[in-house]
């Protein structure tokens, strides 16, 4: 049997290195908040004639809408993200644009005031915090018969934090180069990741719990290693099936739900690695430390 847990130091060192990269990326590039969090307007327009993005940008600058972010959807619609517009502002802008580029159709208009944006930001932060604390409490409770249930809970939450930081880092880099911002669907994805990503951790820990109860071995590291290898097939297979459907959503539904799908795609890959290798490695490191401290 492979001794993967024996290489736990390497696992944790490698993890620390790429997490550092992710954190630095978040620090440098920052995550661009979407209008749900920063307030503003998104106007999606469909032009009958062909309009290039550069021309549209120039026209918007000319109309007094500097610093707009323009994206084109697969269907050829333009998504224009700008400061908060009143209905009258929007009507005016649409008239200016149709005078210049010909007939246009408004596909979607979404405008969010600073008041709503501030509430959304606050409540989202509360939701994420509650989710992590709830996971910690539930995991500690679920593994209450283990010698140190708090360790199981803490390790699980650390693994979740790992998945979230990795995904945020990915988004910071991708967002910088692809002009992505963090929408509410992104947060939904993160919370779904927290709820679902922990499944893998539970499966591995559940097996450790079972093998410990059965008394397979006295050595915690050996039990963890064995449990990890036994559950590897299941973890891979369930990630594969989930990723198939996530990819289907990403490829066929597209734009509005993109953030959600990308978060799950990236987060679950990170989550498979972290729940399989990092979670048991963390447990073992802590257990060993405790043994060393309690040894005379």
């Amino acid at each position: 049997m492979f001794d993967i847990i024996g290489k736990r130091k390497w696992i944790l060192i490698i993890t620390a290195i790429y997490l550092l990269v992710a954190i630095v990326a978040i620090g440098i590039f920052r995550l661009k908040p979407g209008i749900e969090f920063s307030s503003g307007s998104i106007l999606t327009l469909n032009f009958e004639q062909k309009v290039t993005q550069a021309d549209l940008q120039t026209a918007l600058d000319g109309a007094g809408y500097e610093n707009t972010i323009i994206q084109q959807t697969a269907g050829g619609d333009y998504i224009i993200r700008t400061r908060e517009m009143s209905g009258a502002d929007k009507t005016g802008l649409e008239k200016t644009l149709s005078d210049k580029f010909g007939k246009l159709r408004e596909v979607e208009f979404n405008s969010i005031s600073p008041m709503i944006a501030a509430e959304t930001t606050q409540n989202t932060a509360i939701a994420v915090a509650i989710a992590l604390v709830a996971m910690l409490i539930y995991m500690t409770w679920a593994f209450r018969r283990m010698p140190s249930p708090v360790l199981f809970g803490t390790s699980a939450v650390l693994v979740l934090a790992h998945d979230v930081i990795f995904t945020l880092g990915f988004f910071a880099i991708a967002g910088h180069f692809l002009n992505w911002d963090v929408s509410l669907m992104f947060i939904t994805g993160i919370l779904a990741l927290v709820g679902y990503g922990i499944n893998n951790v539970i499966v591995v820990f559940d097996r450790i719990r079972e093998n410990l109860t059965r008394g397979v071995s006295k050595d915690f590291a050996a039990v963890s290693n064995m449990s990890m290898i036994e559950t590897l097939g299941r973890c891979l297979n369930s990630v594969i099936t989930t990723q198939i459907t996530v990819l289907a959503v990403l490829l066929f539904v597209g734009a509005s739900i993109r953030d959600f799908a990308v978060v799950l795609l990236v987060g679950l890959v990170a989550g498979t690695f972290s729940s399989t290798f990092i979670a048991p490695a963390l447990l073992v490191v802590w257990e060993k430390n405790k043994e060393m401290k309690s040894a005379p």
Binding site: T124, Y196, T241, F252
Partner: protein
Amino acid sequence: MRRRNSIVFIVLCIIFALAVSVVFPLDKGILGSRGIKLGLDLQGGVHLVYQADLSQVSGDQGGAVDGAMAILNNRINPMGVTEPVIQRQGTDRIVVELPGTKITDQEKERLSQVDILQFGELAAENETAKWTDELGRWKPATAEIDGVTKPLSSQYFKSNTYVNRDQMGNIFLFFEWTDEGARISKDITTRLVGKPLGIFEGDEPLRSTAGIPVAPTVIEAITDKGQITGLSFPEATTLSKQLNYGRLPVPLKLIFDDTVSPVLGSDFVARSVKAGIIGSALVMLFMILYYKLAGLIASLALIFYAALVLAVFKLWPGGGVTLTLAGIGGFVVSIGMAVDANVLIFERMKEEINSGRTYAASVEAGFARAWSAIWDSNVTTFIVCGILYWLGSSVAASAPVMGFALTLFIGVAVSMFTAIFVSRTMLRLFVGTALAKHLALFSSVYAGGRG
């Protein structure tokens, strides 16, 4: 034991048949259910949130907001929207949802004006303008009545406006001034003879069918009544009804606006269905290739799952689950997650088979041993669903999240049922048959090698 299992199997078949009969046709109801409801983002529509300004209300604030809601309702009804939703959120907010409609900006603007129409006169060079359009710069037309400056608006219309058409086919909206209105109007129009009198809705000029601002030139002083021309018959009729319901008791400020054209939504539905079909077909293919006969059973359980989830969507209390784009995303992703329990069980069965147990013992042990992990992991997902549901219900901008939370919750709950009951019942059917002796059929390709 086997007999009991056969009964359970038959019951499950009946449940499946019922679920399918509830689900199809998708857009119509059966058995007391309705068609699957689509959210505003999928069928198109308008989602608005207004903040009522209660700073001027000293007495009954709740009553003022209720009054505003009644007026909003009355202004929306003439527009012919089916099933509008007008709800109070908190103490001072009003949520308006108009599904399936694409209302014009002018109509949207009109909803939240205290007085629908305001009158203006051209501003001089050095005066500040309230409105600017292609006809010029305008300021509110005001008159001094008993020492108080009063702007002229539809506040002074009697609630008996009506629409009529003359022999030439011109459409007129007739109105009468109240006593106070008559005094203001007389004062203003006497001053404006030969000049235009602009008519505005909120920040925008009232525009005729030709798109030109309605600004008639005053021919003589208007004292007791007047008319507005240039609108189409339906436009004028709607406006007349809205005017007759009176003014909003409090000013409303639009703080959230999401307007989706129906075209965008129908596109999403088609693409989501495609994603769902292709995604689940690939998941089934994977399961069958990897777990063979057991994978086939998981695939059948998945079809059962999909039918049951859609049936629950339709039968959910309160007229069914409203499917949003995020909700459909949650449903499609939950298909991938639903087989998770099966994967856990099959992997467990594989181990039991490899350790030399019989088929029947492996099936039972596989389910028994996998249960604790399935339960724990689904409970964590339920917790997150609860948190997401709260987030979605707390803020206007995050409403779509609620749909996701609900569909994911239903999906995970149903998946526990199908994974346990449906898969297990079907696997038990094979107990004691010749097929059960070919253990490799139920285990993965690697099973033989490691045994």
